[in-house]
C-alpha cells in the first residue's frame, strides 16, 4: 500500500468518524485541531482504523498515538 493510498483511506476514516465530509488531515494534525477529537472519539477512531486496515493495535501503541503522522507510520508498518 502506498503512502498516498494510506493517507486517502485514513482521511476517509477521519471524515466518517468525525462526521465531516470536507475534513482534511496532515501528519501534524492532532486532537487540538479537530473539535470532536476527545478521549471518547479517540477510541471510536482506533476501532474504525483497525477495521479499515485490518490491523490490531496494542494498548501501548494506542497510548503513543499523538498525531496523524503517528497513525500513518503505525498503519504502514502493520498493514499489508
Amino acid at each position: 500500500m502506498t503512502h498516498e493510498e494510506v493517507h486517502k483511506r485514513l482521511t476517509a476514516v477521519f471524515r466518517d468518524v468525525f462526521d465531516d465530509p470536507s475534513l482534511g488531515i496532515s501528519d501534524s494534525t492532532t486532537a487540538d485541531d479537530i473539535d470532536d477529537w476527545d478521549s471518547v472519539n479517540h477510541i471510536t477512531l482506533i476501532a474504525a482504523v483497525e477495521t479499515e486496515f485490518r490491523i490490531s493495535l496494542s494498548t501501548r501503541e494506542v497510548k503513543n498515538l499523538g498525531n496523524v503522522g503517528d497513525f500513518m507510520k503505525l498503519i504502514e508498518s502493520k498493514a499489508r
Binding site: 468518524v17 471518547v40 477510541i43 471510536t44 476501532a47 474504525a48 494498548t59
Partner: protein, 589 residues
C-alpha cells in the same frame, strides 16, 4: 426491539445515527445510568436505539463507579434527576480485584449480592420506577483448567453464584429486571466480549463491537417494562410450520418429525409452544383450504402445535394483509404487538407494505435456523406480569418460598395479609378466551359442574347479555398465577344461577373462593336477584367441592342423580366473608 435483522447493531452506524437525532422526537423517557464502568460510548448508541423504538431518551450518566454513592445519598444527582428508569451496569473487572483481596471468599458472593440488593432497596425507597440490573459476565481465566468446575472457591464459580443469587433475589422485587449480560457474552463468545485493551484505555464494559448488543438488551427490557411487547405471533403454515405444501404433498408428504428437515420444523414448533405457554397468542394466517390445513393440526402425529394452541385460525385464499387485519380486530390487540412469520419473501414484503406497523422479521432460507434468527432479535422480551398462562417453573419455585415463609407466621390471617394478593375480576374478553377455554377443559377437582365449554362457546357466553361470565387473575408479591378461575352466572328470572365455578387448585386456601363468592352475591344484590342457585354435579374427581356451597350458607336442595345437588341462598341472608385480597387499583396507589 429490532425490526428485521442484526445489521442494525453496528457501532459506527449507531454513533452516526445518534449525531443526527432530532431532539424532542418521540415519547420522552428519563433514564439514570449507574455503572462501575465508563458509559460514554454506551450513551449515544442507547439514544439511537431508543429512538428506533419511538423513545426520546434523556440519560443521566452518574460518575464512574458511583453506584452506591448515588443510591444511598438522598441528595444525589440520581434523585434530583427524577428518572423513570434506573439502569445498573456492573463489570466483573472490579469484582476480580475484590475477590482476590477478600478475607472471606466463601461468603464473597453472598455479601456482593447483599450489597446489590441493598442498592435496589435504597432506590426503591425513594423511587417507584423499574430498575434494570446487569448480571456479571463469568470471566474466562481458569487456574485449574476444567478441573476448576469441581473446585470450591474459584472466581468463575463465585461469579456464577452471584448471578444466580441476583436472579433469585430479583424474583422478590417485581420492579427489578435482570439484564443478562452473561447470556450475551456467552452467545457472542467471552473472548469477543471482553476487550482488555479497551478496559485499559477507557474502562469499557466490553468491545465496541458488542456494546450495541448490551444497549439493545437494555432497550428491549425498558420497552417491555413500559408495556410494549409482542402479544401475538401470526404464522404462515406451508414451509413455515412444516416442510412442503399440505395441499400438494398431503399429510404423509409434508416434512415434519425426526427425519431431515422435519426436525427443524419440530424445533420451531417447540419454540412456538414455549411462547404459547408463557401467554403469547398464536394465530394462523395461511393460503390454504381451511379443512385441509386444520387436518394437519388434528391428525399429523408429529405436530407439536394443535388447534387448542391457536387463538385464531385463518386459512383461505385472500391476501394476507386483509387476513392479518381480521386477526387483529378479533383479538383486539395493536398491530405493534404482533409479529408475522412467513418463509416467503413475497408475502413478507406485501405485509410490510400494507400493514407497516406489524413486525415482519426476515426468516433464513434454512428452516433449521428459524429459532436462532428469532432469538437473535429478542422479540419476546417480557415484563412478566401479564402472562396469561403460568410460568410453571417460576410458580413451583415461588410456591416453595411461600411455604417456607408460611412457617414464620403464627396464624393464617397474618400470613395471607403478608402475601399482598391481588385478584382481578374480568368479564370474558377476546384476549383471554384461549386461556379460559383451556382452564375449562383442564380443571377437574375444583369444578362444581364440569361443563366443558369450548372456546367458541365461551365466545357466545362473552357476548350474551343475560350471562355474566368472568375470570379471576391472581398474583401476589412472590409471583404471578395468571388466570386461575372461571365463573359463569346466568340470569333466570329473579334467580341468579351459578352455571360454572371452577378454579385451579394452585390457589386454594388463600381466600380466592371467598372473594369470588362475595363478588357473586354482590352482583346478585346489585342486579336485584332474590336468590343465588348453585349446583354440584359429582364426577370421579371433584368430591373436594361437594360441600362447597354449604360453607357459604347455601341450603341443600334435592339430590337428582346425574343433575347433581341444588344449593340455594337468599341474597339478603349472606354475610360477606373476610378476605385478604386487593383489587388491582388498591395496589396501584
Amino acid at each position: 426491539m429490532l425490526k428485521q435483522n442484526r445489521a442494525e447493531l453496528n457501532y459506527q452506524e449507531l454513533v452516526r445515527k445518534a449525531r443526527r437525532l432530532q431532539p424532542g422526537v418521540g415519547q420522552k423517557l428519563k433514564i439514570a445510568l449507574l455503572a462501575d464502568v465508563s458509559t460514554q460510548h454506551l450513551v449515544p448508541i442507547l439514544r439511537a436505539l431508543f429512538a428506533s423504538n419511538g423513545v426520546d431518551a434523556h440519560i443521566y450518566e452518574a460518575g464512574f463507579d458511583t453506584v452506591q454513592l448515588e443510591a444511598f445519598n438522598p441528595a444525589s444527582g440520581l434523585y434530583a434527576f427524577e428518572p423513570q428508569l434506573v439502569v445498573i451496569l456492573q463489570s466483573v473487572t472490579k469484582l476480580r480485584g475484590l475477590y482476590y483481596e477478600s478475607d472471606d471468599r466463601a461468603g464473597f458472593s453472598r455479601s456482593k449480592a447483599d450489597g446489590i440488593e441493598s442498592v435496589w432497596q435504597a432506590i426503591q425507597s425513594r423511587l417507584s420506577v423499574p430498575i434494570i440490573q446487569s448480571t456479571f459476565v463469568i470471566p474466562y481465566e481458569r487456574a485449574h483448567g476444567h478441573f476448576g468446575a469441581k473446585v470450591a472457591g474459584t472466581l468463575p464459580g463465585a461469579i456464577s453464584e452471584i448471578n444466580r443469587d441476583l436472579c433469585e433475589r430479583a424474583q422478590r422485587h417485581a420492579s427489578v429486571f435482570i439484564c443478562d449480560i452473561d447470556y450475551l457474552a456467552a452467545w457472542a463468545g467471552r473472548r469477543n466480549f471482553f476487550d482488555e485493551r479497551l478496559w485499559a484505555l477507557a474502562k469499557s464494559l466490553c468491545s465496541l463491537e458488542l456494546l450495541p448488543e448490551v444497549a439493545q438488551s437494555i432497550v428491549d427490557i425498558a420497552m417491555a417494562s413500559l408495556g410494549r411487547g409482542i402479544k401475538c405471533v401470526v404464522l404462515d403454515l406451508d414451509n413455515t410450520l412444516w416442510g412442503g405444501v399440505i395441499g400438494d404433498d398431503g399429510l404423509d408428504g409434508i416434512g415434519l418429525g425426526d427425519l431431515d428437515e422435519g426436525g427443524a420444523f419440530r424445533f420451531f414448533q417447540l419454540f412456538l409452544r414455549s411462547l404459547w405457554e408463557r401467554g403469547i397468542l398464536l394465530a394462523v394466517c395461511s393460503k390454504n383450504t381451511e379443512s385441509t390445513a386444520r387436518r394437519v393440526f388434528q391428525e399429523h402425529p408429529s405436530m407439536i402445535l394443535r388447534e387448542q394452541h391457536i387463538a385464531m385460525f385463518v386459512a383461505n385464499w385472500e391476501d394476507k394483509a386483509s387476513n392479518i387485519r381480521r386477526i387483529r380486530e378479533k383479538l383486539n390487540i395493536g398491530f405493534d404487538s404482533m409479529v408475522f412469520l412467513d418463509d416467503n419473501p413475497f408475502e413478507r414484503n406485501l405485509v410490510r407494505q400494507l400493514v407497516p406497523e406489524i413486525l415482519v422479521p426476515d426468516l433464513p432460507e434454512d428452516p433449521g435456523l428459524y429459532v436462532r434468527a428469532i432469538c437473535e432479535l429478542n422479540l419476546f422480551e417480557s415484563a412478566g406480569a401479564s402472562a396469561l398462562d403460568s410460568q410453571r417453573t417460576a410458580l413451583y419455585q415461588t410456591a416453595q418460598k411461600r411455604e417456607s415463609e408460611k412457617q414464620h407466621f403464627a396464624d393464617l390471617a397474618s400470613y395471607l395479609k403478608s402475601l399482598a394478593t391481588v385478584a382481578e375480576l374480568r368479564r370474558f374478553d377476546a384476549a383471554s378466551l384461549g386461556r379460559i377455554a383451556q382452564l375449562i377443559q383442564r380443571s377437574n377437582q375444583f369444578n362444581l359442574t364440569t361443563r366443558r365449554y369450548s372456546q367458541s362457546q365461551c365466545e357466545v357466553l362473552m357476548n350474551d347479555a343475560s350471562t355474566y361470565p368472568f375470570s379471576i387473575t391472581v398474583r401476589d408479591r412472590f409471583g404471578d398465577f395468571g388466570l386461575i378461575a372461571v365463573i359463569v352466572l346466568k340470569h333466570s328470572g329473579d334467580t341468579l344461577e351459578v352455571d360454572t365455578f371452577l378454579m385451579s387448585c394452585r390457589v386454594l386456601q388463600r381466600g380466592v373462593e371467598q372473594y369470588a363468592m362475595n363478588h357473586i352475591v354482590e352482583y346478585a344484590r346489585a342486579n336485584n336477584f332474590k336468590s343465588v342457585v348453585g349446583r354440584y354435579i359429582p364426577t370421579a374427581k371433584n368430591s373436594m367441592v361437594r360441600e362447597f356451597f354449604g360453607q357459604f350458607g347455601f341450603e341443600r336442595g334435592a339430590e337428582a342423580g346425574e343433575a347433581g345437588t341444588e344449593w340455594r341462598l337468599e341474597v339478603s341472608r349472606y354475610i360477606p366473608r373476610e378476605v385478604f385480597i386487593n383489587q388491582p387499583e388498591e395496589i396501584a396507589q
